[in-house]
């Protein structure tokens, strides 16, 4: 079965079973190992990617459902060898520690930044509530998203 989609802006044709998890297709068929698996059941958010702009757990999305879709992974955030605003803010504030939740956290953060939601602590927390982090206590992640939002909005 052929699935056509774009991944990080590049057109991709996948010849894989339709029920393959998008996570597996990204990591094993496309070699994009930036997206991580933490639980396989949509609890931790480490496998978060954007599908047509919406944050989803790629472990819960079969490839057959992303035919024609645009998928963005962590590998698609930096442009021309430069960290984007959110990545730079994570680096500055200490929002990444062990780094395993970071790709998913960045994706959830990007969805928040794109949503134009009110920039409050509570709204940021809600936006990343599907992404578990065990290192940071979330404080510096929230700082990072807030910093990036402020920079992008001015």
């Amino acid at each position: 079965m052929t699935t056509r989609l774009t991944v990080n802006g590049e057109p991709v044709e996948l010849e894989v079973p339709g029920m393959r998890r998008l996570l597996d297709a990204l990591r094993e068929d496309l070699g994009l190992t930036g997206t991580k698996e933490g639980c396989g059941e949509g609890e931790c958010g480490a496998c978060s990617v954007l599908v047509d702009g919406a944050v989803v757990d790629s472990c819960l999305v079969p490839v057959c459902q992303v035919d024609g879709a645009s998928v963005i992974t962590v590998e698609g955030l930096a442009r021309e060898e430069r960290l984007n605003a959110l990545q730079a803010a994570f680096l500055e504030t200490g929002g990444a520690q062990c780094g395993i939740c970071t790709p998913g956290m960045l994706i959830a953060g990007e969805a928040f930044l794109a949503s134009g939601a009110e920039l409050t602590d509570e709204r940021i927390r809600e936006a990343i509530a599907g992404n578990l982090c065990r290192c940071t206590g979330y404080t510096k992640i929230i700082d990072a998203i807030s910093l990036a939002a402020q920079r992008l909005r001015t």
Partner: protein
């Protein structure tokens, strides 16, 4: 939000005067940060080894049994896979740690001592074949009686008695004796990257393993011993590691052995990548513990005597239990001056999966109880919990239960005042807290200390080595086995070395954590990396600088590129004046202590017992702060782990098996559950380490849980003696609802409250060898939905 309190010495070094270990105006950015932020950092499961096979572990589904053999179903073509049993282990069948009781695989005829114990290994070229093979293996077993309650266990892993003074005589003079029993359950480390290890056969007959780990040389030793390999034939390489918290201290040795055994037998790389279910089911947890306190005080609030008993549940094998118990016992009286103290601790065996290292290492358990006791005494005496601690907390010159005199870097009162001030504790305490009958608010305070580095003579025995070299390419390179798992090793080491050498941060490289390159700088545990290994590197840098400058006659920074290969190996030397007697358990238990105070605010829903932690301040005195952002990150992360421990994190067991063995059922706080955490770093440099640092990793884990439970008491009037203080326990205390079972003890196989599983009745099963465990070689996890399907 963070804030740094700076006692005498300035935190920020004046420009142009780099002082070793002193934070700079702009601390360096995380060294491996860009890789982690772009998805290019390679964790074990991201590594590609062409032609690699997949490995799996067949595990026990009983808590205690005799392994009689395996039935390999003829319906499956076994030539498609590789099977490894204990018979395939060329060396000693042990996972090398403190005691040699734990096998890598249970041998036929041997004893299965816990659920999810490894029995047999499989490897296959693809996952489908692997899963099919797994379904066709059945262990044959004979059930044995199981013990789940540490108080009923007769097998002891370790015991310690610590104390000084005449407790009985002093207690008799007390106006008031307060007693309390406190229980804490298991806690899962829950690193977000599951345990992962890849074994790769070597041409020299040895094996390399690449994986997620904290302690390369622990694994190196385990491989050499079980596989009968020489020093160079066993190679351990750390891949990027997605969190450890102690959980990747000892169990990776087991997984590495398994991957290595399979790789050597099939002649191909073998990937052992646990999924979350297997990881939670099989790997170590924080020890459950029972603490009993008797504390004698005078009516005017003097601390007269403390008598403390600690019982820890070690699980089925010894692992690191004696050391965990030791640290737990040494911290059990809390950071308070008392002339008459007796602490007795023992660790018992049960037929549950072995417990092991987890951030805090015994101290969070015993300090929870100590702080509960102090808060209850404050209430009984009508003294504020802040004032009582102001009177009791160790000052310089204080003497600990082991007789250690605290000569310097004693920050207890400083963190107490800093946290109280930042949180507005006194003002809040002085007037009634909001309570509208539906939601009640409360504030709670707790204080803790944490011994820096290994206990007692541990560091002397380790004799760690850290090295620094100038490569022939003119680079400065750090060589240690100390691992980065998020806490910042790869950032602070180059920072410390750059400062000591007077060069830029980016000029200092750090070698990969690969046992074929780097010396054994000891395990990355016990908050020892910044203090101990960082200290060795500063000393090594000083020597390197002298050698280079002696040879070139010019400043190091200008001339080191000309000097060709050169290497300095720095070995640990005892801190001056620090001595501990392991026989009598007296003396300097730790070279120095970190000090922490947490103040938590909670809202409790009085209808449901739900707790919302609204705010938490944690003030931590850690000697010299090397890197404020990374140190704050440790405090914030440790604080939230402690809040999870206090409120929702609980392993439930039935028949010795973890019931909530997946992320849908073992819950940790999300960003919505986490309060804003305000970390305050307080500095009282420790003169024994060249940079004054004491370590920060574990300290915050000790203190937030009792603060939260104190706040719950302040809101509701109920003391919750068991952790976690779940809504179920709170409602039991405030509304008389039947309480849930005590934490940490398994229900019987029928799900009833019988703690110990009875032996099968005599004669009930005349041919035990005919008995089989479940058709499934390893149980599927508990349906998060609930048990309704069994109730129809």
């Amino acid at each position: 939000m963070t804030q740094t309190v700076v006692p005498p010495a300035p935190l920020i070094a004046p420009p142009g005067v780099p002082t070793p270990g002193r934070a700079r105006p702009a601390a360096p950015l995380r060294r491996e940060g860009p890789d982690k932020l772009t998805g290019t950092a390679k964790y074990a499961d991201d590594l590609v080894f062409p032609g690699a096979w997949y490995g799996a572990t067949v595990r026990s589904t009983e808590p205690h049994a005799r392994l009689l053999g395996f039935d390999l179903d003829d319906a499956f073509d076994w030539k498609r896979v590789v099977v490894v049993t204990a018979d395939d282990i060329p060396g000693e069948n042990v996972v090398s740690l403190i005691d040699d009781d734990q096998p890598a695989l249970v041998p036929i005829g041997g004893e299965i001592r816990h659920q999810a114990e490894p029995l047999l290994l499989l490897a296959a070229p693809d996952r489908a074949t692997l899963r099919e093979a797994k379904r066709h293996v059945r262990p044959r077993t004979e059930a044995l009686p199981a013990v789940f309650d540490p108080l009923q266990s007769t097998q002891e892993f370790a015991h310690f008695t610590v104390g000084r003074g005449d407790v009985d005589a002093a207690m008799a003079t007390a106006d008031l004796v307060i007693e309390g029993e406190y229980r804490v359950g298991h806690q899962e480390q829950l690193y977000i990257e599951n345990q992962s290890m890849i074994g790769v056969p070597r041409e020299d007959g040895g094996v390399s393993v690449h994986g997620s780990l904290q302690c390369p040389y622990y694994i190196h030793k385990a491989l050499k011993r079980a596989l009968d390999l020489g020093d160079r034939q066993a190679v351990v390489v750390q891949s990027e590691t997605g969190g450890g918290f102690g959980g990747k201290e000892e169990y990776p040795s087991m997984i590495a052995l398994h991957a290595a055994l399979l790789a050597r037998k099939c002649g191909k790389p073998v990937r052992m990548i646990y999924d979350r279910h297997e990881d939670i089911s099989a790997t170590t947890k924080r020890h459950p513990a029972i603490m009993r306190h008797r504390t004698g005080v005078s009516r005017d609030g003097r601390l007269i005597a403390q008598e403390i008993e600690v019982v820890m549940d070690g699980g089925a094998y010894c692992t690191l239990t004696p050391v965990v118990l030791s640290r737990g016992v040494l911290h059990a009286a809390g950071p308070y001056q008392c002339d008459h103290v007796r602490i007795r601790g023992r660790a018992m065996a049960t037929n549950t999966p072995p417990n092991g290292a987890f951030r805090g290492f015994g101290a969070p358990q015993t300090e929870f109880a100590a702080e509960m006791q102090v808060n209850r005494i404050a209430e009984a005496l009508g003294i504020s919990p802040l004032d009582l601690r102001r009177r009791w907390v160790y000052r310089e010159g204080g003497t600990t239960p082991t007789g250690q005199v605290l000569r310097e870097s004693v920050g207890g009162i400083d963190v107490l005042e800093a946290a109280a001030d930042a949180s507005g504790f006194e003002e809040t305490w002085s007037r009634p807290r909001p309570n509208d009958g539906r939601v009640a608010s409360g504030i709670g305070l707790a204080l803790a200390w944490h011994g820096a580095g290994f206990t007692g003579s541990g560091e002397v025995q380790l004799a760690s080595v850290a090295s620094l070299e100038l490569t022939d390419a003119g680079r400065i390179r750090i060589l240690t086995a100390s691992t980065e798992m998020g806490q910042g090793t790869k950032t602070i080491f180059p920072q410390l070395v750059a400062d000591a050498l007077g060069v830029e941060y980016d000029e200092v490289e750090i070698a990969p954590q690969d046992t074929s390159f780097v010396p054994d700088s000891g395990p990355t545990v016990a908050s020892r990396t910044a203090m101990v290994v960082g200290g060795l590197l500063i000393k090594a840098a000083g020597k390197l600088r002298l050698q280079v400058e002696g040879r070139t006659g010019r400043p190091f920074a200008e001339s080191y590129r000309e000097v060709g290969p050169m290497r300095v190996d720095e070995q640990f030397e005892p801190y001056p004046g620090v001595a501990f007697d392991d026989e009598t358990y007296t003396g300097d238990a730790y070279p120095a202590y970190g000090w922490a105070c947490a103040v938590a605010r909670v809202d409790v829903d009085l209808d449901t017992g739900e707790v919302a932690v609204r705010d938490c301040v944690s003030a931590d005195e850690i000697g010299r702060v090397i890197h404020p952002i990374l140190a704050e990150g440790q405090v914030e992360g440790g604080t939230l782990q402690a809040i999870g421990y206090a409120t929702i994190e609980e392993i439930k067991l039935r028949d010795g098996r973890y019931l909530n063995d997946r992320l849908a059922t073992y819950l940790i706080p999300t960003a919505l559950d986490a309060p804003p955490i305000r970390s305050i770093l307080v500095e009282k440099p420790f003169s024994g380490s060249p940079h004054g640092a004491k370590g920060v990793g574990e300290l915050p884990m000790d203190v937030a849980a009792p603060a939260v439970v104190a706040a719950i008491h302040d809101a509701t009037g109920a003391w919750i003696h068991d952790l976690p203080a779940t809504p179920e326990r709170i409602l039991a205390a405030v509304a008389g609802v039947a309480p849930p079972p005590q934490p940490g003890v398994s229900a019987g196989s029928d799900g009833g409250s019988v703690a110990n599983r009875a032996a099968p009745p005599e004669g009930s099963d005349p041919k035990p060898e005919a008995r089989r465990t479940d058709a499934q070689p390893f149980r599927a996890p508990t349906d998060p939905d609930d048990d309704w399907k069994h109730r129809r």
